[in-house]
Symmetry: C2
Subunit: 544 residues, 2 copies
């Protein structure tokens, strides 16, 4: 490291080294100095309309790139992304929150500076609750090691971290404290060996073992290892909703999404009747488990993720998911003959019924054929997610959604982050009208940076997922003319869709119009819902 580097420039250099090329945010006076440094650097600053949009975009970017960055001003910027950062925590998305703040020299005598809430460290305290590591770079002598400590935590735990830079520290030269930190996250070898031996025995003895693959396979970039394990053993693989598409959904061993009563009956039975479920990198959250309609027997459960390893009713300490999976790859596991119904997940043909009112089910049947190899599906919360879960995605990890934390408004801004992370992908955004009204105007950012997602608005005049639970006026929302939004931005194309042939036309034109965004306003019956949501409602009713 050169010794004359400023704190701000060093942070930028480290982010570039870690594969980050874009920073999402909104400027503000306490962060303008850092914004100026960014402008001079190779990191591109992507202005969103609101900080919330930047937070969601950085989350999506992190899911694809392995690290994302959102850069905001003090409190009025930072506190606006408390929610998106919380989502990153809950769903393990390693986002670095960089916030400018009042200079160290401005803080003496505790003046009432604008943007201040209670104390100067109020924002810092809030972020301590929703990140795995946080720091205020108020000392050039420790800035180097603090940056390293915090970035290391983001990479190790795949969770958000917080870096606050007082504005008078941005251009201060780093101190000499620059010994490299040690990043030792390997397992206890004895515990690992014992756990592997036990697991391998159980798997080999089982009649119908099955792998249940979760989102950490993606976060820790273990997709290739998982694929090798599947090909070595020929075991079938189900995915959790949050982990959707960690293995190619066209792969013959892919059983589809396991999500209790919400998922398909075949997948549910296969997993629940298995005598050895090998859960790798899953979170057993309520949404993943079909709102607790799952029936998994702990006596046939091997559960390994970055936070814990347990087999049946006992736990092992200090075992990393990476090491465990590599251990399985090197172990003496049987190659099996498994008799799966052939290609049961493949979509069937779709023949348009002209003039027929479009329904949720028919929409998703059609979309299943529309998805191409260069698309990434991004589903917002609600039926966009539940129905989206049944789509067959072609490549691994081509499906993004906040399937656990479930914050509405993710999908449109996430499409910005996703396309910035991988410009060869065209996002297919599935978003309810309620979620769209929260963050959909980030279309502006999409136009500004020349992106071209296809946005399907599931327009059912309200919060459709809530209606079966408890309905009232509070679930209604106003009708917008979504297809007219291109006139606001002088860009993009809009389609108003009520029938199957209008859908067909809209999809065809979206495929050929690649210069900008396409928005398809799909008018659905407020009482209509996907098969998945109907399955869930039925199961919950049976429980009552």
């Amino acid at each position: 490291m050169e010794n004359n580097k400023s704190i701000g420039n060093y942070l930028i250099e480290r982010l570039l080294q870690l594969g980050v090329n874009h920073v999402f945010g909104v400027p503000g006076d306490f962060v303008l100095g850092f914004n100026k440094l960014l402008e001079k650097s190779e990191l591109e600053f992507i202005n969103t309309c609101d900080e919330q949009g930047a937070g969601f975009a950085a989350d999506a970017y992190a899911r694809l790139r392995g690290l994302g960055v959102v850069c905001v001003t003090y409190c009025v910027g930072g506190l606006k992304i408390a929610n998106t950062t919380a989502q990153c925590f809950a769903e393990k998305s390693p986002v670095v929150v960089i916030s400018g703040s009042p200079g160290v020299n401005e803080r003496t005598k505790n003046p009432l500076l604008h943007h201040k809430v209670k104390e100067f460290d109020t924002q810092y305290k809030v972020f301590q609750e929703i990140t795995v590591a946080s720091t205020v770079l108020d000392n050039p002598d420790t800035a180097y090691s603090e940056i390293e400590r915090v970035l290391t935590a983001a990479l190790r735990y795949k969770r958000p971290v917080y870096i606050e830079i007082p504005r008078d520290m941005v251009n201060v030269t780093l101190g000499a404290d620059n010994q490299p930190s040690s990043n030792n996250s390997s397992s206890n070898p004895d515990a690992l060996q014992e756990a592997l031996e036990e697991a391998v025995n159980l798997i080999n003895q089982a009649q119908h073992p099955v792998i249940l693959a979760g989102v950490e396979i993606h976060r820790f970039k273990l997709q290739e290892s998982l694929l090798k394990l599947v090909e070595k053993t020929n075991l079938p693989v189900a995915e959790t909703l949050l982990g959707k598409s960690v293995i190619n959904e066209m792969h013959p061993n892919n059983l589809g999404i396991y999500e209790g009563a919400m998922g398909k009956e075949f997948t549910r039975k296969y997993v629940e009747e298995s005598d050895c479920v090998i859960a790798l990198g899953t979170f057993l959250s309520d949404v993943n488990l079909g709102i607790f309609t799952a029936k998994l027997n702990p006596q046939s459960f091997i559960d390994v993720n970055s936070e814990k390893t347990s087999i049946h009713f006992h736990n092992y300490e200090d075992i990393s998911l990476v090491d465990f999976l590599n251990g399985l790859l090197n172990a003496d596991l049987k190659h099996r003959q498994v008799d799966l119904p052939s290609r049961f997940l493949l979509p069937t043909n779709f023949s348009v019924k002209p003039g027929e009112k479009i329904t949720v089910q028919r929409l998703f049947e059609r979309l299943n054929l529309f998805i191409s190899n260069d698309m990434i599906v991004i589903a917002d919360v609600g039926d966009a997610l539940f129905a989206g879960a049944d789509l067959v995605v072609h490549q691994k990890s081509r499906f993004l959604s906040p399937a656990y934390y479930a914050s509405l408004g993710f999908a449109v801004p996430a499409s910005i982050g996703a396309q910035m992370a991988n410009s060869t992908l065209r996002p297919l955004v599935l978003v309810g009208d309620g979620a769209f009204q929260m963050t959909g105007m980030e279309l502006s950012t999409i136009v500004r940076y020349g992106l071209n997602p296809i946005i399907i608005v599931l327009n059912n005049l309200g919060y459709g997922t809530e209606r079966p639970m408890q309905d009232g006026k509070f679930n209604d929302i106003l009708l917008w003319n979504y297809s007219q939004l291109p006139t606001i931005f002088n860009a993009g194309k809009g389609f108003d869709i009520r029938t199957e042939d209008e859908l067909e036309l809209g999809l065809e034109k979206s495929q050929t119009y690649t210069e900008g965004f396409c928005i398809l306003d799909v008018h659905l019956d407020p009482q209509d819902s996907s098969l998945a949501l109907k399955r869930l409602t039925k199961a919950l009713r049976e429980k009552v």
Copy 2:
């Protein structure tokens, strides 16, 4: 109190008793039960598009009504309003945050319920940092006293509070613990007497005393007392920016806004040269003080607000602002002859120059004449606020703006809260394009509830206030066709304004069209700015 009341219904009853008629929010599954109770009650639930909009609306409502309420779901709703709640804390706006949450019975064994971040109390901990009181109503035996404790704190400190209701507690009957709490906020009589005597002597001995009135005059509803004091003594009154219009701006003793170099020279000189400044309910924050360009001499300063009382360099404990102001009203204060330039604040005539490109200065000169008695001016952050400060507002407290915390995006949603709080007012919203792009689509809520603000978009293609500090691409924003927004909602009227005669026409038509919102897209030169911002920039340059 009846003994068979549920926790949810009791909370609703207390809010109604305290003068609240509207609750702003977005529903979500953990709060649906409470939403259902609200629907059956006399409290009207106002759905906004995003929780951020609800937070700002409730803030505005609280500023006008004395108490506001925002109601959201757990984490994905609550954490979205961390920022708006922080603003309420910083600017003393008593908003009750009500959040649904997972049921007490759902929390056993710490499952991964959706919307959960780290622990079940993560959201509660975050709100402890940004409210004056907070509670989780997880026990029917203490729910009564907890509700009282928290609401009392909101009213006493004029700051936000947090009430979380686990969803299985909403319909649980309150326990018997219902002794009324004591609310004793009166002053120490000896300290009060000594401070009053000292202050009265100083005021009577001074040659040119002046009152500096702040926002707490409004929050504690002391406008009438202040007016009486002015009429009893004939003292001139300056206001802080945050306290703008706590006294009728047409009053002959009103000196206008004192804000250091940012304010008008006459007001600045009058206050800074005074030998006795009586600051009542002011916060001496940086924005109020013209980013610290104010030159106030502590040796001639009497400073009384709800948090402290100091005269010159010594402090008194336990003196309430209300008691002090009442004390002054009853004290033997001189009635003075004060020679103020007559009606120096009154706007002059405005003659339209047809075809002339509109400028910030001319726009505000024209708006000064446009404001009528039934209007409330709501200014967003930026030049909307700085220029807006020079407007002459007709009635007391008819000017709302986040002048201290300065969170962009306040004005449009605030207009919803303001008009719900007082349906006889028509909001005149002054908002920059940057702020509008954050929350402007709450126009949807405006349409849904039949409100009719006039919205002036100061369209200068970016964050104009930041350009003089540090300019770059990051200060640019995309051009929207704001005047086309009525086509999205099938409601409202839009006007595209580039010249003085187009402005004239737009204002005229807005005055007569009262059925819905009017949006005036005023195209300004990106380098143009108000006189106030120019004064500030000049002063800051002199400091460098």
